[in-house]
Each structure stands twice: as structure tokens, then as C-alpha cells.
Symmetry: C2
Subunit: 319 residues, 2 copies
């Protein structure tokens, strides 16, 4: 019987956990991320691990390892997280790995990594990227993250590789989340698309985007809100998504010309929600910009969807 490993995807709004036996998901659990500080987040992580284990008819003592994918700056050696602005309590340095290990109390090893990298690991080892040794994962969500597998291994560089979202697609273009201009993320990140939509509304443009959000009791334009507005033919939503496709076409074609990849996986909240038609449009936008048209990468949707991060974290723990 293969070993059990738990994987935790710690996000600003939810904590998603799975338990893997070998390559099979045998349990999963998800709760909202407590907004009340580190102690409650640690307790919530343990709760989801216990919940996932219960589904698998297993106990804490059977876990061979626990992996956690987290936004922010990760110190893999010490298990510390810092600078994670979306998780309350994690702006300062938090020894998350040791805290979770203590709370579990079984001496199990807890490993930490960056949330985007574990999602890429999940898609590469157990998802859409399985057949390939050279794959770029592009996670189009609130921001645009990237994970790069080269020659079968996750490229870390000096710890900061993969930032495809900060590719310049239009010098002096739209403002990005990092305060610089013209990045891919400024056009394809849901967060910046929302900022741009608010600007357009202030300038008198019409859209049903904010009405849909209000009807759903949301104060943000979630991926689901965009999807619904598109379905209703909302012009602003269509134009914003056109811009995202255009920017992804430029940035991914340039990355392809440099790296000659076998495949690109498009995931993240917006990527998963808009799915195959969105990925096909990105491929079309890339095509005229490829230096060797015959070397277009396979363009893939994710297989694991929003479980990718948790599955990847469990694979990290399993080793």
C-alpha cells in the first residue's frame, strides 16, 4: 500500500486540502480562510487535514508527510512564510511549517513551497502536463502566476523564477499590481481587469458586470461574474477578455520563442472558468507571433482545476 500524504493550498479566501495515497486523491476538505490571525489559520489547516483523513478512513499517524502551498515569500529550509498580503496575520514572518507540525503532534515533516509552483507540480506530475518534460503553467486568477518545468524539473532560478505575469506586453501601458506599467497581469489578471472596469464605469461606460456581482452578494468581479457577463454578451466584459487574450498571446509567444516549450497549461480561477474556448483563443493570438510556427506548443487546460495546488503540495510532501 502506498504512503499517505496531505497537501494544503492556503489561499486568501479558502484553504483547500487533499490526502493522496500514491497518486490517488482519497480525501479532501475545504474551508474559508479565517480572517482572525495566524493561530486560527493553523487550526483551520489542521481541521482540513483531519477532515480529509476521515474521508480516507485514516489517521494522523499514517501521514508520511504534509505539504503546504502558500502565497508570499517562502523559506523552504525553515518552513517560514512572509509577505503574504492576502492572508491576515501573514504579512510578518510566520513559522507556518513548524506551527502546523506542532499542532499535528505526530512528528510528521511539513514542507512549504510557493502556491503557484505546487500547482504547477500538481499539473505536471498528475495533471495535464504529464506527457511533457518542458511545460509552462500560466495561472490566470486575481494575478497571473507562472510555473516552469524544464527538462522535467521545476525551474526555481534563485527562488524567483516563473514570473510570466510581469512580462512587458505594452511599454507604458496599463498599470500593473506592482505599480509598473504594461505587464501581462495588468491585462489578464482579474484584479487589474476589475480596476480597469471601474475606471471605465466612472467614465460613463455601461456594463452588467457590477450588477451580476451585486446580485451574487459579491463586492468583487469573480471569475464566475466574468463568465456570466460574457454569456450575456456584455461588451465591456468581452473587451476586457479580448485584452487578456491579446496580452497572453504576446507574452506566451515571446516565452515560446525563447524556450521552445512542448506545452503550455492555462489554469487559475479565470483560466479554469473560461476553459477550452479561452485557451483556443490564446493559441490563435500566439500563432502569428511564433518565430517557428511549426513549433507551437500544445495548449492545454488544467486537469486538476482548483485542486491542483493541494495535489501538488501533497506530491511535494510525498517527495
Amino acid at each position: 500500500m502506498s504512503e499517505l500524504a496531505a497537501g494544503v493550498d492556503l489561499g486568501g479566501t479558502k484553504i483547500q486540502t487533499v490526502v493522496l495515497r500514491g497518486m490517488d486523491v482519497v480525501g479532501s476538505d475545504r474551508i474559508e480562510t479565517p480572517q482572525s490571525g495566524v493561530d486560527d489559520v493553523v487550526a483551520a489547516i489542521v481541521t482540513t487535514i483531519d477532515g480529509s483523513l476521515a474521508q480516507a478512513d485514516a489517521e494522523r499517524g499514517e501521514l508520511a508527510g504534509v505539504g503546504i502551498g502558500s502565497p508570499g515569500e517562502i523559506d523552504a529550509e525553515t518552513g517560514e512564510v512572509a509577505e503574504s498580503p492576502n492572508v491576515p496575520g501573514f504579512q510578518k514572518k510566520v513559522p507556518l511549517g513548524p506551527r502546523v507540525a506542532d499542532a499535528l503532534g505526530t512528528g510528521v515533516r511539513v514542507r512549504l513551497s510557493n502556491d503557484v509552483r505546487v500547482a504547477m507540480l500538481g499539473e505536471h506530475r498528475r495533471g495535464a502536463g504529464r506527457p511533457y518534460r518542458d511545460v509552462l503553467g500560466v495561472f490566470v486568477g486575481t494575478g497571473v502566476g507562472g510555473g516552469l518545468i524544464l527538462d522535467g524539473a521545476l525551474r526555481e532560478g534563485r527562488g524567483a523564477a516563473g514570473e510570466i505575469g510581469h512580462t512587458t506586453v505594452k511599454p507604458e501601458g496599463r498599470m500593473c499590481s506592482d505599480g509598473r506599467r504594461g505587464h501581462l497581469e495588468a491585462y489578464a489578471g482579474r484584479g487589474r481587469m476589475e480596476v480597469h472596469a471601474r475606471n471605465l464605469v466612472e467614465h460613463g461606460k455601461d456594463t452588467i458586470l457590477f450588477d451580476i456581482a451585486r446580485d451574487r452578494g459579491k463586492d468583487r468581479l469573480s471569475s464566475g461574474v466574468f463568465a456570466k457577463a460574457l454569456k450575456h454578451g456584455d461588451e465591456m466584459a468581452m473587451s476586457l477578455v479580448d485584452g487578456a487574450v491579446w496580452a497572453l498571446g504576446i507574452a506566451l509567444a515571446s516565452a515560446q520563442n525563447l524556450l521552445d516549450l512542448e506545452a503550455i497549461v492555462i489554469g487559475g480561477g479565470l483560466g479554469d472558468r473560461l476553459g477550452r474556448p479561452f485557451v483556443d483563443r490564446i493559441a490563435e493570438a500566439m500563432a502569428p507571433r511564433l518565430f517557428v510556427p511549426g513549433h507551437a506548443p500544445a495548449m492545454l487546460t488544467t486537469e486538476l482545476g482548483d485542486l491542483g495546488g493541494a495535489v501538488g503540495a501533497a506530491l511535494l510532501a510525498a517527495g
Copy 2:
């Protein structure tokens, strides 16, 4: 005593050859590339090998291997070159490796590779890139070529990796040599800078660029012509080089954000000629676009200059 290897850099205007003993250049020779077809090019290559061997007090029979770096499409297995528009006779497929091996007549093995890749190999193994495992070489010449060393090995992808020159820096911008718009090469490649200069002159702008070329008996704006015009404060030359620096800043910062490299080497005809001040200006242009400013790559000039291709070809043969 280390083995002898010959390396040949086959260009459209010149053939540069070296003989290495271990890592030392013990002989070199250079002649103009015959414009009269394949037979004469093969004979010229052999002449430069013999000339280099004579300097080294050695004979053909002592060569452990011969490497050739060539533009165009290379089949490393068969030693064939095709689609090399700048070398007369090489538009069709030419079995260059076997032809040179036959002409040498000693049964020596002849290996072929892409000219930019062997130049990168030279700078990485014996030049400025020695201390690093992750280096991008950017060869700013007639075009803009790139060679990528990741984890100490040349990245080939599926045979077409490294095309940094075809990074989009300005959508719908200046026309590139490949007929597409807004690529790095359209702003930083000497060939396209010259086309742009001619356009500006046709529109009534002043420059001494073409006067300098004429005085030198040249019909092209060589790197030396650009360097002299800059020294004289020619406004068009300064503005063209400003554009090259701007485009390099954008493309290299995006590559750095994706790959988190340790170093970038700037070479090629124009890069070598303009040297350290040019490289410093590129570093300055990159800085505000780096996602992690603390991870700026070391910015290097080449050490081997225009011998880099021949040295790299010899290392390919030896290795």
C-alpha cells in the same frame, strides 16, 4: 598533452577558425567567405584549418575533432546545413560536415551546430559566462540572436530555443527581419536599424551615418560606422542606439522575470563594439522592469569577442 581541436565560425562575410589545445587558443586564421559557391567555401574552411594548425606547429592528423558553427538550419546528425541565406550556395541543403571531413582526408569527425549556440558555448565554457550555471547570451549583430545556458547546459528545446530577438517589445511596432512587427531585433539588430535610418533619411532627417560608411568604402552601416557616428554626436545614431537599449531593457527584463538568471552576456558585432557603456545602459533600462530588483543578473560583456563562435565550435568538437 591535451588534444587538439579546430573550430570554424562560418559567416556570410568571413570564416574565422581557431585551433585549441585543451582550453588554449594555439592557432587562428581568418579569410573572407568565398561568394562563389559551396566547393570554394569548403576549400576556404580547410585553408583556415591548415593555417591555424601551422601556427600551432601541428598537422591535420593530430586533430581530435573539428567543429563548425553555421547560420541556417542545422542537422547535427547528418552534418547538413540548409536555409543559410547569407552564405552563397547554402540556400539549398549542403552536407557541409561530410564535405569538410572528406577534404581533410584524415577520418576526423566534424560536428556542426548553430552559430549563435556555439558562440554561447564559447562564452560559457571559456569566456565571461564561466562562473555561472544560468546565463543568457544576447548577440547583437545584424540580427539579435540568443543562447541560453540553464543548469550548466545549453538549452535546445526542440531545436529552436533561444530566439530572444523575436520577443515582442512593442505590439504593432517597427517591422522585423521576419516580417512581423515590434520584435527586439527590429530595434536592436544592426540590419533593421539601418533600414530605419534609410527611412528617416528619405523623410529628410540628417545624419553622418551614411557619409562615414561611404568614406570607408562600405555600403552597409557596420558596427564601426555606428560607433564613429556616436563619437561625433550624430543625433540619428544616438536615437537609434537609444531605441536598441530601450528594446533590450524590455525584452531582457521580461526574460529575467521568467527565468531568474544569474547573468546575461551581451555580445555580437554591435554589442562588442559598443562594449561596457552599452551593457551598463541596458542594465539601467532593465532595472525598473525587474519584478525582484534584488535579483538583477550580472550584466557582462563578452571575453572572447568575435573569436567566441570559433572557440565554441572547437569546444563542441572536443567535447
